[in-house]
Every structure is written in C-alpha cells, then in structure tokens.
C-alpha cells in the first residue's frame, strides 16, 4: 500500500494544528472552524479509505488465507542512539488500528462539526480548533504506532492535548485545577508505563510491537527467568505498562481525574474523555495482548481492577447530580467492562472471545457515548446548567435531543437491537466462559448500567417540568450543526451491532463467527429491562421514592454521592502526609540553606563592591597608575624569578 495516504492522515491534523495555532489569531471564527472541519473531513475520508482497503481489498499484505496480518506501511528511523536503541516512527495497519482509524476520525469529525454550534462565539474559538487538531493528530499517531516508544510519545501528546482542552476555559479556577489534576494523575501513571517499557525493552532489546507480539515465547525466554520481589520481570513489566493504561483509562484507583475532566467543553468530553483517549489503556493492553497471555497474573490483575472499577463507577453514577459526571462515571464503568473482557480472554475459551468483545464494545461505546455526551451538551446549552435538577420534562421541548438520547441510553443499557446489546453480550459471554463469578458480577453491573442511565434519562426528560419561564427563551433543539452529529451517531448506534465484528477483529487474525448464546442474551436483556423498570418506577413522575430509598441506606447514599471519598483520600495523602512530611522540610531546606548560601554570596559580593568602588573614580590617569603598578610588579617578579 502506498504510504502517501497514511502519511496524510497524520500530517493533515498536525498541519491544521500549526496553521490554526499560529495563524488562528488573525482568522475569523468561521474560517477557523471551516478549516478545522474540512481538514478533519479529509482525514475521515482518507481513513475510511485506508480501513476499507485493509479489510476488504484482499491485498496479500493484509490478509493471507483468511488470516489478517499486521502491515507496516512505513517505519522511519527517528532517533538512533546506539545500534540497539533506535526509536522509529511509523504506521502500523492491523485489525485494531484499522478499526481505530474508523472510530477516531468519525467521532472527531462529528465533534468538529458539533463544536461549530456549541462553541459559537466563545473566546478562543480558533485555539479550540487548534487543540482539537492536535488531539486528533496525537490519537491517530498513538493507534498506528509501530513500536511501544512511538506509542509512548503520542500517549504523552494526547495527555498534553487533553490537559490543554480540559483547561480550555482557563479563567475558571475549577477548570484549571481539573486540568492540572488530569495531567498529574495520568503523568503519575505514565511513570509506571515508562518503567515498564524500559524493563521490557531492556530484556528484549526491541521496542517493536511486531517483534514483541509475534513471538511472545521468545520474550519470555529473553528475560531469562529473572525475578523481582517475587514476580518475574515480565509480570512486573506488563503490570507497570498496564498502570499507564489504568491512568489513561481511569481505572481505580487512578480514576479521580476523569470526573473532574468534565470541566472542559462538552464536545471535548465526548471526543477525548468518552470515545477515544480514555480507551487508549484498553487499546494498549489489546496491542500487547499476546504478551499478556504469557502472564496469567497480569491478566488476573486486569480483570480484578476492571471488575472493581466497573462496580464502583456504576454505584457512584447512580447518585450524581451533574449529568456530565453521571456520564463520566458511566464511561469509567464501560471502559472497565472492556478491561475485564480483555482480562478474561483466553485462547482456549472461544478463541479469546473477550479480545474481540472488548474491541467491539470499544467501537460501539465510542459511538453511543459520544452521542450521549453531545446530547448532554445540547441539554446544557438549552438550560444553561449541568445539573438534572434544573431539567425535567424536556421531551416536549427538545424532541431530536430526546430521541437520540433515548437511543444512546438503550444502546448502553444493552437492549436489542441497539449496538450496545451485541458488544456487551459478547463481553458477558466471555466472562461466563472464563468464570461464573465474574460473569455474575458483570451482569449485575450491566443491570446497574441500565438503571443509572435511565434514571438520568427520566430525570432529564420526564420527572417534573420546572419553570422555564425565567429563561429568556424556552429550551429548544439545537441548530443543524449540533443536531446533525446527534442524528448521525444515533443512526450508527442503532445499526453498529449488526456489523459482523468477529470477521474483522480477532486477537490472532483468524475469522471468528459470532453466535449469540441464547441463555446469556436473554438473561442480560431481562436484567437490563429490570434496571430500566426500576428507573421507570422511581423517576418517571415526581414522587417520594428516590428520597425514601436514599433514606433507607443514608451512609451508602452519602458515600456514593461523595464518590466513596476517593478525592478526600488523595487530598489527605498529598496535603497532610506528603506536603507536611516531605515537602515542608524540603521547602525549609531550600529556603534557608540553599537560598541562604546564595544570599550570603550576594551579600558578601555587595559589601565588597561597596568597599572598593572608590577605585572607579572616573579619573583615567589614576587607572593607569594602578595598571602600571600591577604590570611593573608582575614584570619585576618575572624578571627576578626566571633568571
């Protein structure tokens, strides 16, 4: 395959970023928005072409005897430190990167279009589009990385653009602290990622994914049975790399940044913090999956972390007031689904069904979660508040938003024939096939998903209609620029489930035919309907049920409402223990010892200069005297000593 188009896919967003970042100040909003949308639209077309080519062209580079291959389109040496330590940048095309080439430009383009309406007349509109382009570039670079170091570079770049976009409203203190929090937490996790990369590449002498995953046995051998603190180094490396994924994908206990990241503009939340960047952790594990298969412990770890996170986030989502926070916790929970799915995937059970299911869910989740966020953006635009307490009965005022939001909720709840049903069903099948325990656990979480999403839906669109008359206009559906993405994504959410995903994406490239397990499918639909029913009973009309139910277990409700005090725990550890125990002594040392030394030097210099400044009399001939005396003394000494 020609390398021009893949190169353009990366180059256009980067060019747009530079163009809008440097020249944006001089542009009108309309021009900047048009440039951003056209650029992203071009990328969309090129990526679709590339992905289509990969899946359907039958080219020998991509598929041989029905087995899909990973194709390196180009791979250029970027930095060559030593013969072994070479960092390359390239473009890797395999089933999952081709799938991401569909997901990312689609969502990104929708968000670009949506933002034309949503961000209209905001200060810094051009900057916003520049950052969106930067993010798109980084995310695309991340998914097509040919080696783990390139992935790390783009991994940090998406982190940086996420930071920039969360803090887009930089005059709001809450946005600033949220962006800092996101950056620091993910940075902290990336430290683990980097150490993992270094351990892995130290033993295997390579960064290349192809070398690592084509022959995982060799990787295991290359570590030579070295161990550290009771675990093999490979386990350590994989768990540490997964730590990076935990940070980006907001797994417990590093999830605390994602709810706060909702301070950014809503389209950004849809693009970065729901559909694309936060699934980078899942993508990372999927990318290294053959290696993870070598280490049972790492997979167990992923499963446990994912399962706990899924349950935790689902509970918290039931009690949040801010609709974007609900969606954020729902995102955490859904990503945890994908993680669990990867964690339970084993080649011996249905040919690692979990891997396929995870990627499938990634795909469908990206679509319906972006839809839900964009819908939430439309709602926030209409009522000028993030809280559902300011909403209610909106189905009469905003029919388009209502119907699309409902589709999103049905999809995430797992009601057939919406897309979420299929992907979630595969995940549950994978869980049950590996262990009954995780299967039941995840089924419960799936039921809670249906409950909290429909709780949100009913509270926004039904419940009780508040008095909208104090708004200067009644809530209404957004303009075309904002409603088109909603309609498009809703359509995708309805039909995406019928994609025969197993034919395209499997862990080893072999085709896998999806067959629904009737028992599991029926059970999960019943559970989802139960959740929806409960939500309907409690929230369809204004009543006392929710308050009474919260009153039954007040401690649980309060704890969940405060997200089980994770933020407070972090604050306690950082402020009370780290700041007092470590930072204060260091600060004291810096202020008194180091600064004191420097101040002392400055004081001495100052005093000495004052003492001798009289020599600088301005009388040239006096200077000559001093000079001559010195020169003669030196001359005399030289003459006498070196006779």
């Amino acid at each position: 395959m020609d390398f021009i188009i893949p190169l353009l896919i990366l180059a256009i967003p980067l060019f747009n970023f530079l163009l809008l970042g440097i020249g944006g100040v001089k542009m009108s909003h309309r021009l900047a928005g048009t440039i951003g949308c056209i650029g992203m639209g071009t990328v969309l077309v090129l990526s679709y072409y590339t992905a289509f080519n990969y899946f359907f062209s039958g080219n020998e580079a991509f598929i041989i005897d029905g087995v899909r291959k990973a194709a390196t389109i180009f791979n250029v040496t970027w930095l060559e430190f030593t013969k072994n330590l070479v960092i390359k940048l390239g473009f890797l095309l395999d089933p999952i990167s081709a799938m991401m080439l569909i997901v990312i430009p689609t969502i990104s383009f929708m968000v670009h279009v949506y933002s034309l309406g949503y961000m209209k007349d905001e200060k810094g509109f051009q900057r916003y589009y520049a950052f969106l382009s930067l993010f798109s570039f980084s995310m695309l670079g991340l998914v097509v990385a040919t080696n783990i170091f390139q992935m790390y570079i783009f991994w940090e770049l998406v982190g940086a653009s996420s930071y920039l976009l969360i803090g887009f409203f930089y005059t709001l203190p809450s946005a600033v602290s949220a962006s800092k929090k996101a950056f620091i937490v993910t940075r902290f996790a990336d430290l683990g990622f980097l150490i993992g990369i270094l351990i892995l590449s130290f033993y295997t002498q390579t960064f290349n994914f192809a070398d690592l995953t084509n022959n995982p046995q060799n990787v295991l051998l290359s570590t030579g049975g070295a161990t550290f603190l009771g675990g093999s180094v490979l386990t350590w490396a994989l768990v540490l790399i997964f730590t990076g994924g935990m940070g980006k994908s907001a797994m417990m206990p590093l999830h605390i940044w994602l709810p706060d990241a909702m301070e950014g503009p809503t389209p950004v939340s849809a693009l970065i913090h729901a559909a694309t960047m936060v699934v980078a952790g899942v993508y990372l594990v999927a990318r290294m999956f053959p290696l993870y298969l070598m280490e049972e412990f790492a997979l167990q770890f992923i499963t446990v972390v994912g399962a706990i996170t899924a349950l935790y986030a689902a509970i918290v989502a039931c009690t949040q007031i801010d609709i974007k926070r609900v969606l954020a916790f729902s995102t955490i929970s859904q990503i945890a689904f994908m993680m669990v799915s990867l964690g339970v995937a084993r080649p011996e059970h249905h040919e690692a069904l979990g891997y396929m299911a995870s990627m499938f869910h990634l795909f469908t989740h990206a679509m319906f979660k972006a839809l839900l966020f964009l819908g939430a953006g439309a709602l926030i635009h209409a009522v000028h508040s993030n809280n559902y307490t300011a909403m209610g009965g909106l189905r009469k005022y905003m029919p388009i938003t209502h119907w699309t939001f409902l589709i999103g909720c049905l999809a995430i709840a797992g009601i057939p024939p919406f897309s979420g049903f299929f992907s979630k069903d595969e995940i549950l099948s994978a869980c049950y096939s590996q262990s009954m325990f995780w299967g039941v656990w995840m089924s419960i979480v799936a039921g809670m998903t249906a409950f909290y999403m429909f709780r949100l839906y009913f509270l926004i669109f039904w419940w009780d209609t508040p008095d909208y008359s104090h708004h200067h206009h009644k809530p209404h559906d957004p303009k075309f620029a904002m409603s088109f993405p909603l309609l498009f994504l809703a359509t995708v959410s309805v039909f995406a489930g019928f994609i025969p995903f197993g034919e395209f994406v499997t862990w080893n490239g072999h085709e896998y035919t999806i067959h629904l397990n009737t028992v599991i499918a029926v059970t999960s639909v019943v559970i989802a309907l139960l959740g929806i029913g409960a939500a309907y009973v409690m929230y369809s009309k204004k009543n006392e049920w929710p308050a009474r139910l919260a009153g039954l277990v007040p401690w649980l409700w309060t704890a969940a409402h405060h997200r089980f005090y994770w933020d407070e725990i972090y604050l306690f550890i950082t402020h009370k223990i780290i700041f007092n125990g470590i930072c204060r002594p260091i600060a004291w040392f810096d202020r008194h010892i180091i600064d004191g030394t420097m101040d002392g030097f400055a004081y001495i210099t100052n005093k000495a200069s004052v003492a001798i400044k009289g020599f600088q009399s301005g009388k040239v001939q006096m200077y000559v005297w001093w000079y001559l005396i010195g020169a003669l003394l030196l001359g005399a000494i030289t003459a006498v000593c070196w006779m």
Binding site: W625, L628, L632, G635, A636, T638, A639, M643
Partner: protein, 171 residues
C-alpha cells in the same frame, strides 16, 4: 662587520627616536607635540628600512605619518585655540610621572639587558621580502597565512568609519 655608514645611520636613527620622543611628551604646545610625533614616526620608518622591511616602512609613513598625524593635527586645530599653551605642570605631578617612567625603564631595561645583551650579536642576513610573498601571506588561506585576520581588520575599519561618523556628527 658592519660598514661605517651603517653605524652612522644607526646612531642618527636611534638618537632621533630618543630625542623626538622626549620632546613629544615634554613640549607644552600641543601642535608641536604632534610635529615631534611625526618625526618620531619617520625615524621609526627609517629603522624599518634599515632592517630591510621596506614595505613596512612605507606603510608606516603612509598610514602613521600621512594619516594619523594629519588626523591629530586636524583635531588639535578643532579643539584648541591657536597660541594656547597647556598649563604648567605641578612639579609633584611631573615628578610622579617621571618616576613612573623611570621605574618602567629600570624594570624593563633590566629584564632586557639581563637577557638580550649577549645574544643575537649579529644581524642575520636577510633579503628584503618581496611584495608577492607579502601578498601571499596576507591573502592566503593556508597554514600561517592571514586572510581571516585581514578580513576581520577590514570589518573593524569599516565599523570604525561608521562609528566615527556617528559619534562625531552634529546632532
């Protein structure tokens, strides 16, 4: 053995250097000081000629005697009124200056004489360096050839011309 003419020539040059130098710094009329400087420079040029550096002697006359001294004379005419004498020096100051010069003379002279009195007793034979050789050394780029300093000097001179114009022009 050197010829008598050469010895006489030497003494004329050496004596005029010494006498005119002393006169340059002791006369109270500034224009006369410039004139005596001119003579000193001429004597120096003669010394160069005697040492067979004819090109250098010519440069000395052209640049120093012809250029710099004229510059001095011009500036003296610009900044002093004709007939002005510089004020008489206080004897203390003169004594101080004299002793400084004397100490310099003694220290340096001691160093020179103690080292050079008995070495290099004969002037080595040397033919006058011809112009093409000087030109090659000045404009060459090889080892020990001086194109880079030559260019640097040209830039320096340009800077001085501009600087001189800027500093001295009327505002």
């Amino acid at each position: 053995m050197e010829s008598v003419g050469s010895i006489i020539m030497y003494w004329i040059i050496a004596l005029s250097i010494v006498i005119f130098s002393v006169l340059t710094v002791t006369t109270r009329k500034i224009l006369r000081a410039a004139t005596y400087l001119l003579f000193t420079l001429f004597a120096t040029a003669a010394l160069y000629f005697k040492l067979d550096y004819e090109f250098l002697g010519a440069v000395q006359i052209a640049v120093y005697a012809g250029g710099i001294v004229v510059l001095f004379v011009f500036s003296i005419l610009l900044t002093t009124h004709p007939g002005d004498n510089s004020e008489k020096l206080a004897s203390r100051k003169r004594l101080l200056g004299f002793s400084a010069a004397l100490v310099t003379l003694v220290v340096t002279g001691y160093a020179l004489i103690s080292r050079c009195a008995n070495v290099f007793t004969r002037l080595p034979e040397m033919s006058t360096p011809d112009m093409s050789r000087i030109g090659e050394v000045l404009m060459g780029t090889g080892y020990g050839e001086l194109l880079l300093p030559f260019e640097a000097i040209s830039v320096l001179l340009l800077a001085c011309i501009i600087g001189g114009v800027v500093v001295a022009r009327k505002r």
